[in-house]
Amino acid sequence: MTTELERAARGARQAAAQAAASGQSVVGIVGRDVPALLVVAAGARPFRIAPHDEPTDEADAVMGRAVDRAAARVLAAALSGSLDFLTGIFVSRDSEASVRLFYTLQQLNRRGRFTVPVHLVDQVHQNRESTIRYNTYQLAQMWEAVERWTAVPITARSLWQAYVAVADVRGQLESARTERRANRRVGTVSLYGYRVACALPPAESLPLLQTALAEQSLAEQTRTDATSPFPVFLTGSAPLGDEVYRAVEDAGANVVAEDHDWGDPILSDRLPANIDAPKDDLLRELALGRLRGAPASASSTMAARAEATRDGIRTSGARGLLSVVRPYDEAPAWDWRRQSELAGVPAVMLRGDEAEDPDRIARAVESLRAAS
């Protein structure tokens, strides 16, 4: 059954392009580390770019093949012209692949092969005062860039409005997360929810999320504990689409929590507590929000990841740990040793070209269930 939420997730790019055609500024976002708050406050429509498009030969030739497919897919989208409607693109410094993508887009800009302006939000990730200062500066640069792109100044009022709108969406996502942790909401729906929240403006995503939550509770009343799917915590590479989640569900299990940047970690990055603070303080709070958020594999220590995974398994009630790691996504395989040691539940890692193959995932789920 294709829900409205899923349709909205799949149609997000088209909706963004239509908004752009009707004169609205749409700002593209790559990765979790770019705060959409500033984009909304500058009067633009934030659109986080999902790795939809199949990589092309040109993308591989320009960026090299040895890079995570997620970045290659975004580059393929840029090269195909299907992102030309954007006013600008902010790229997170969340992984080597993103940095590579940024350098590549910047060079394509210089050569006129791609004309949408690109800006790297170079936030780094150690919890140190020097890092916080640098990241605050990076957000100030982002602030300037988005004002330049949209020609709309960020004001105290626009910030406040953006804050309220973004906070409402987060509230919906948080309720959905609670349902899911009780294994009353399936992983795919949750994934669509996060995608919608990141790819549509708050005014459009909020009603969709509200409806989905209400429908979910209705469906719930008819289910019994005996039919509860086996709860799994998903780690490893951020999924390209919903295939991994579907494969888990088809195997009679459910991804009840995850630690990739299209999932629960989005909610771990807190909004500033005091939106009326002076600009520097506000940006510092925003930088801290991300630094104190859930550790991402490519930018944190193995120790921090292992602890976060253990905590995530506990709070979600997961009974198995599944890691799906794509080629050229180096970090998750390093995390695995300590993650699996600390997990406290059976753990399986799939790696390589076939990691996302539904049959392999089904077998992995089966072995987790058998061991638990």
Partner: protein, 411 residues
């Protein structure tokens, strides 16, 4: 022609130095393992000896125990197909006494790295599986477009090349490293010592700059790249010592004498080549064959050139000057637009007929280097390989590609 005396001397010194390091560690003194892209000068100034991770990896590779070292890594539960070169030192700690090169790498007291890529930090964190080993990490920030030719601006106007905020971040981290080292070793940092180290390094690199310019201008090429590499690299690992500075001066003198004599690697010299990317210099016979059969000589490698252009920093604030040296050192070699512009300048300066570009997996922006060279009308052979993993590189294939390329240039 015979081997450069500077090269022979450097290789001998390195053996002797390493034996001394092992003795010092056996006597209970601390030492650090450092990744090449992280600043080492503070350790030098504090009298804490260090081994450069990539140097040790080259020894492990040369002694052909890289596969065994990677097996050790896999047995520990870490991937053996990621950051293979960076992880060789860690794996080599598990080699048997019979296998371990040079008596083996002693256990470091601390490891130091920059968070480049997604996994370098994890490779170094893995050392802390032994809780007695300390770990310090520098952030890695992204390159910005420079205000002009970086090789002219970097020695004094570094903010215009790298950005003030990036440099300030790294300078702050230098201060944190000093605190970390003082706490762990009980030694006291002395700024005057660091200033002396920085001055010695500028002298050393000024000699390298002259050596590079001599080789660039000489026709025919007076020295082989495979010879200048140890004569430059080993002193680079000892940057900031008097021996390092003196070794660079000796190399300059030796090259100058060879130029005066009209020495030639190959007569007649028909094709001048440049090697971009990590080197495959261990197989010297391959390069000899190109010299003998084609009169083709490699006149350039990044090791001497980056020593000449990448390191010199004149400034009264040593902590900041040090940050300005390291904040973008890898960007200069790999990131666009810094790297492509530089390779074009070097290719022209050395009058090369063609470039062999070895593209490693983990290098960003490689295609823009090739593109920039081709746009400057310089033919490029791109070899796509992971030269990090000894198990995946087929030298026969590389040689065949290069033979075809050189024949094409001479047609």
């Amino acid at each position: 022609m015979t081997r450069l005396e500077s090269a022979t001397a450097a290789l001998a010194y390195q053996r002797q130095w390493f034996a001394g390091l092992r003795d010092s560690v056996a006597a209970g003194r601390p030492y650090a393992l450092v990744n090449a892209d992280a600043p080492q000068e503070i350790l030098r100034a504090m009298g804490i000896p260090y081994v450069v991770n990539q140097w040790w990896a080259s020894i492990v590779t040369a002694k052909q125990v890289a596969p065994q070292s990677l097996e050790v890594v896999a047995r520990t539960g870490y991937p053996d197909d990621s950051r293979q070169y960076d992880v060789l030192a860690l794996g080599s700690r598990g080699l048997s006494a019979a296998e371990a090169p040079w008596g083996g790498l002693p256990k470091p007291d601390l490891v130091l790295a920059e968070l480049s890529g997604d996994a370098t930090g994890k490779v170094f964190e893995a050392w802390t599986d032994d809780p007695s080993i300390g770990y310090f990490a520098y952030e890695r920030t992204a390159a910005i477009p420079p205000a002009g030719p970086w090789w002219e601006l970097a020695p004094r106007r570094w903010n215009e090349v790298f950005g003030r905020e990036r440099i300030e971040l790294m300078a702050d981290e230098n201060r944190l490293l000093i605190e970390f080292l003082e706490q762990r070793t009980g030694r006291v940092f002395d700024l005057a010592r660091l200033e002396a180290v920085m001055a010695l390094i500028n002298e050393q690199e000024e000699y390298n700059l002259r050596t590079r310019d001599l080789i660039a201008a000489a026709r025919p090429a007076p020295v082989r790249v495979s010879d200048t590499i140890p004569a430059v690299m080993i002193p680079q690992w000892h940057r900031g010592s008097e021996w390092g500075r003196d070794a660079a001066r000796t190399l300059r003198d030796e090259v100058a004498a060879l130029v005066d004599e009209g020495a030639a690697v190959t007569v007649p010299e028909r094709t001048r080549l440049m090697w971009v990317g990590r080197g495959l210099w261990s197989d010297t016979s391959m390069y000899r064959r190109f010299e003998d059969e084609f009169g083709a000589v490699f006149v350039w490698s990044m090791y001497l050139a980056i020593a000449a252009d990448g390191y010199i920093r004149y400034g009264s604030d040593a902590i900041t000057a040090l940050a300005a040296r390291f904040v973008g050192i890898t960007d200069l070699l790999y990131a666009p637009p810094l790297a492509p512009e530089w390779y074009v300048k070097e290719a022209r300066g050395h009058g090369v007929n063609g470039v062999v570009h070895l593209v490693a997996d983990d290098v960003p922006g490689a295609s823009f280097i090739t593109l920039a060279l081709e746009e400057a009308q310089i033919p490029v052979l791109e070899i796509r390989a992971s030269n990090a993993d000894p198990r995946t590189l087929d030298l026969g294939w590389v040689e065949a590609l290069m033979t075809e390329f050189i024949s094409g240039l001479q047609r």
